[in-house]
Symmetry: C2
Subunit: 420 residues, 2 copies
């Protein structure tokens, strides 16, 4: 029989006892930031559980990792600590365990209705890297900008291409995104366009939250890379296509991206995702030895993008994609990142890049969906080529279990006009 | 008559009382990281001065900014705090002020010989950005890779191009640099090269240390940008040209750079550099209004690169350049960085990009000096196309005053073999 919590969890919930994702929250009107775990419509306060002495395993018993305003310390402790925490929390929340279930005063202290808390960034993010790992996305972008002949650069099939993004402007789901100003391509002999971006886009991504880091100069073996991955979040890598197109030669994206990147608040652990593991796509040419995995794994995570247009009450779905479409796995991404000796630190973020699938309805950004604005997207009677002020973009993702979901909740943001 | 310290300062020293650069140090064999100021061959311990109650101005009197293991808090306080600190320190160190000069016990506590301390990174670096602001460097790179026709991309003259670098692998001068491994261009139908980089290079740069940051969504006006700049350091943006050339299309430099970036430990403030301000180059086309400064300023800072080849006792000078060759000013760089709303934080690092001058002996990297390995550089009887294991690269920079220097000390690093 399936594991069940004493807390009522709706079958459609993303947060049953099989999930137990980690985040950082602040109760409304009182208190400090602290780590929590989502269970149904509640947040379990891990600082309260720790203060009650209920983390009684050998690793966590004397640790203050849940008495911190971020998850960096906990995620840096590695898989043995994660396994111990998961076992303890799963036991405390299960229907047949009285410790928390029958202790009114502890439940009062440790369980907060989700709508009574504010979610914060789960980690202090030292560095943020963004990869480019969906072949469909790479092919579509290449076709749009370079034409259909050789749209994917030769290096793409040999290494997971990436660039460093801006850590300071990563924000938590629900934060408004201010339309960036910047330069766009000049027309003829005029000076470049300057003003609010006219091609504001979303990008459907997921991102790894790094667990234990590696020392500078010590690469991580690809077959051990999973031990450096705490879990995954949803990520919207907002992009100003006009700014990006003008600035990106020769050093890559900069201001076209750095005005804001949204992540979802709940980190779903690899342990919770394990039942949904699936084979990664076959890689041809075969990767170099440092990228060749004994077992190359993806996860079957359904991904959706919804847009709620300015002034409307309802949102429309614009994309159905899946994490399993990624060509390069997250473990290959991490191994590649460190092969030159680059050091990762706990809490770092590694975005996958836009996750587009093969089908027209599985494209992960408006650039692809509207073919760079050449055709409009229909949204319940309205149309969009790029995002307008007031539009809200909502990403969601979930794995379908037998009678339950392991989900990521939502990752949302609304476009607000340029501030002057 | 020139200001003079009671501490003997050799006329060739980089650190007379006119300079007073800030760093973070740890005395050998004891104690915690703390802020200090360089004076001649000594380091003045600012935590000792603060603990003695000698920061008695209105802003610093009750601040713990010098009781921190980094300078982030102090640099974030802004110019009024910086001016007050400089006035206090300059007074305490001057030859006619008895407070410190005549107090043996305080001098004992507060002054450390420079060779008895370890220098650390001066700030916790939230994000690191690298610009591309020398026209000579841009032109030479373009000519090498694209040919002599239109070597500089059109956008270059309209905006200071930049990319985000890796903050985690920024190290302090004196740290060994481990030769990175990685992929290089395949030859014919072979798989890509994989192994230790065969084209390891230095890049002569300087970098801004950001003072007060800006809120997400609130650009900094170019005419107020200097108030967000605490000072400058030397920077060596080590580059693996073979890794970079293969990986950088289409998203820019990544592993070719992220294995290590060295900065000098002493931050020379804009106040100390002010006597050496000079006009920036005329910009044609005229920049867009958000980049147009009332007064466009550079600094006359002589820059040198020396290489001490593996196994040799002496180093040879390979480059003489100058900060004033930069086309885009540091204030324009900072204003551009924020025009899309991107937030900077105190302690962030903004590199200028390689600072090459117009003359053949003023080129800021081996890529240019050896024209991508086509000709060898002569080093006192030896030759180099790129860096070999055991080679040490030493950057230095200074402004020549009347009878004194305002200098940056050195920024050095030695290449050590790939670790396996």
């Amino acid at each position: 029989m399936a594991l069940k919590s004493f807390i009522d969890v709706h079958p459609d919930s993303h947060f049953p006892i099989q999930n137990l994702p980690y985040g950082v929250f602040k109760p409304h009107h009182r208190g400090e930031a602290r780590p929590g775990v989502a269970i149904g419509d509640f947040v379990l306060d891990l600082s309260a559980i720790a203060n009650a002495g209920l983390f009684d395993g050998p690793i966590l018993k004397n640790s203050d990792c849940f008495l911190q305003p971020s998850l960096n310390k906990f995620v840096g402790m590695g898989r043995p600590a994660w396994k111990e925490a998961r076992a303890t929390i799963q036991r405390l929340l299960s229907s047949d365990e009285p410790t928390l279930r029958d202790n009114d005063s502890l439940r009062e202290k440790a369980l907060f209705p989700m709508n009574k808390v504010e979610m914060l960034l789960p980690t202090v993010i030292g560095d943020y890297t963004d990869f480019f790992c969906s072949m469909h996305h790479a092919k579509n972008c290449g076709t749009i900008f370079l034409g259909p002949k050789n749209p994917i650069p030769l290096n793409w099939f040999h290494l997971p291409i990436a660039y460093h993004g801006r850590a300071s402007s990563i924000v938590i789901s629900g934060t408004d995104i201010i339309r960036p100003r910047g330069q766009g391509h000049p027309i003829g002999n005029s000076p470049p366009y300057f003003g609010p971006s006219q091609k504001l886009d979303f990008e459907l991504e997921m991102a790894v939250v790094v667990g234990p880091g590696n020392q500078l100069g010590k690469p991580v073996d690809v077959n051990e890379a999973a031990d450096h991955i705490f879990g995954l979040v949803l990520m919207n890598d907002w992009s100003a296509r006009d700014i990006q197109a003008w600035e990106y030669v020769p050093l890559g994206p900069f201001l076209g991206k750095s005005f804001g990147t949204t992540i979802s608040p709940w980190i779903v652990t690899l342990d919770a995702l394990e039942p949904f593991a699936c084979d990664a796509p076959k890689q041809e040419p075969h990767p170099l030895p440092y990228l060749a995995e004994k077992k190359s794994k993806n996860y079957d995570i359904s991904l959706e993008v919804w847009i709620k247009p300015a002034g409307q009450e309802h949102s429309s779905i614009v994309t159905k994609s899946n994490f399993k479409h990624l060509y390069w796995t997250v473990t290959q991404q991490l191994a590649h990142h460190t092969i030159n000796g680059c050091n990762l630190r706990p809490g770092d973020i590694l975005g996958t890049g836009t996750i587009s699938g093969p089908a027209p309805e599985s494209l992960g950004c408006l650039l692809e969906l509207t073919w760079n604005g050449q055709k409009a997207l229909s949204l319940n009677g309205l149309t969009r080529k790029f995002l307008e002020d007031g539009d809200e973009v909502i990403l969601t993702g979930y794995c379908k279990g037998n009678g339950y979901n392991v989900g990521f909740g939502t990752c949302s943001g609304k476009i607000v006009p340029t501030s002057l």
